[in-house]
Symmetry: C2
Subunit: 217 residues, 2 copies
Amino acid sequence: MLSSLNNPPAHEIVYRQIRDKILFGDLTPGQAVTIQGLVAECGVSMTPVREAIRRLTAEGALEFQGNRRVCVPRMTEARFAELTFARDMIEPKLAEMAAKKASAQDIDTLRAIDDALNAAIDLGDVKGYMRENHRFHFTLYGLAGSNILLPITETLWLRFGPLYRIISGKYGTESLIDRHDEAIHALRAGNATLCADAIRADIAQGFAIVRENFGWA
Amino acid sequence: MLSSLNNPPAHEIVYRQIRDKILFGDLTPGQAVTIQGLVAECGVSMTPVREAIRRLTAEGALEFQGNRRVCVPRMTEARFAELTFARDMIEPKLAEMAAKKASAQDIDTLRAIDDALNAAIDLGDVKGYMRENHRFHFTLYGLAGSNILLPITETLWLRFGPLYRIISGKYGTESLIDRHDEAIHALRAGNATLCADAIRADIAQGFAIVRENFGWA
DNA sequence: CCGCCCGCAATTTGATCATATTATGACGCT
DNA sequence: AGCGTCATAATATGATCAAATTGCGGGCGG
């Protein structure tokens, strides 16, 4: 009973490990992901690794490389256009749903995360920024109580991860500005539409940076 | 045997088998899906079955039932609202993208599928209707050449599958009307926006039937 | 005579299976 | 009714089989 809560299964651990690596840019696009490599790295057997890889490919975080091998997918302009379309449709909706349910305590939590985020920016800690930014968005979206849109959004972020890696190498953290304050103020005011707009603007800034960087006008 | 050389891997076969069952209503919401049951049914070992189940849960077609059991997810009004939102955002977009790339031959193929669909309706063949309807939408969407929105749409349809089963038991095929003709005419005319509108109207009809049936006004 | 290309073998990697281990849920006993 | 034991189903491992890529060597052409 308690042990099931404290001991997540091996495939879950492996899944989270690879997922975080992709999400925060530790793996580069096109990089091959092999079963045996993960077996050696994680110290578990093949079956849990296979399951983790299967799950990640189903989520679009990994991609079949034709002959039963998988790799981190490469981004193209067409794919990027689809990603931004989907995120622009879904995430403001989640923010709106979340705003209608957010308690004062929830908002305080978001405030704390945003403080940690700004601290990471001041320190030039790119990885920390990415982690806190992810945490901010998904604790907000999590308030929506969604079972459909939230998992979809997770897959969309998974495809973005490898991109940020490339960008963060070129830009620093000093150029990173966000609309989180606007979102929090909208939450405090109980204005769901305004919160959705803030999130829309926030992610649009991220899109713009990527587009600029890759010359995708 | 030797025939296994050219065949797709076992986990893929098992995946498709369960997927089709869910998609076309052979499994009812809440129904438990056990590994050993599939082992017995498919005549393969546990590993491929585990992978197929893992993939389907990642796609939302199956759901963890608390303690390491999985079942076909039950539909709620809140989930349904999210599903319709997502489908209403994405599928017209796919139709629009497809319309810009559709060749005359592509349109003929869709025409043929729609003819088969209408034939199934005339015969009162609910299963055949569902199959051809799925084929119509996804051959159309497939023309868009999408790598992001198309897989997402597949997961959305997977969550709809169990619902249609319930409905088709109450209604017959005679009440089934669609906007496929409008979509095909729009494709022939090269009018992408009109095609998107036809698809939007088509799926909205499906939503309305479900809502009516479950009393989700 | 040197360099390139094609084909074969060896190694690496993936896929499947049979089995042991562990947790869960149910039944029976006190 | 509460607790312990048993049966069942899931998790994880290691071994085995099949496939693909890599690297090497011989043949061909310049």
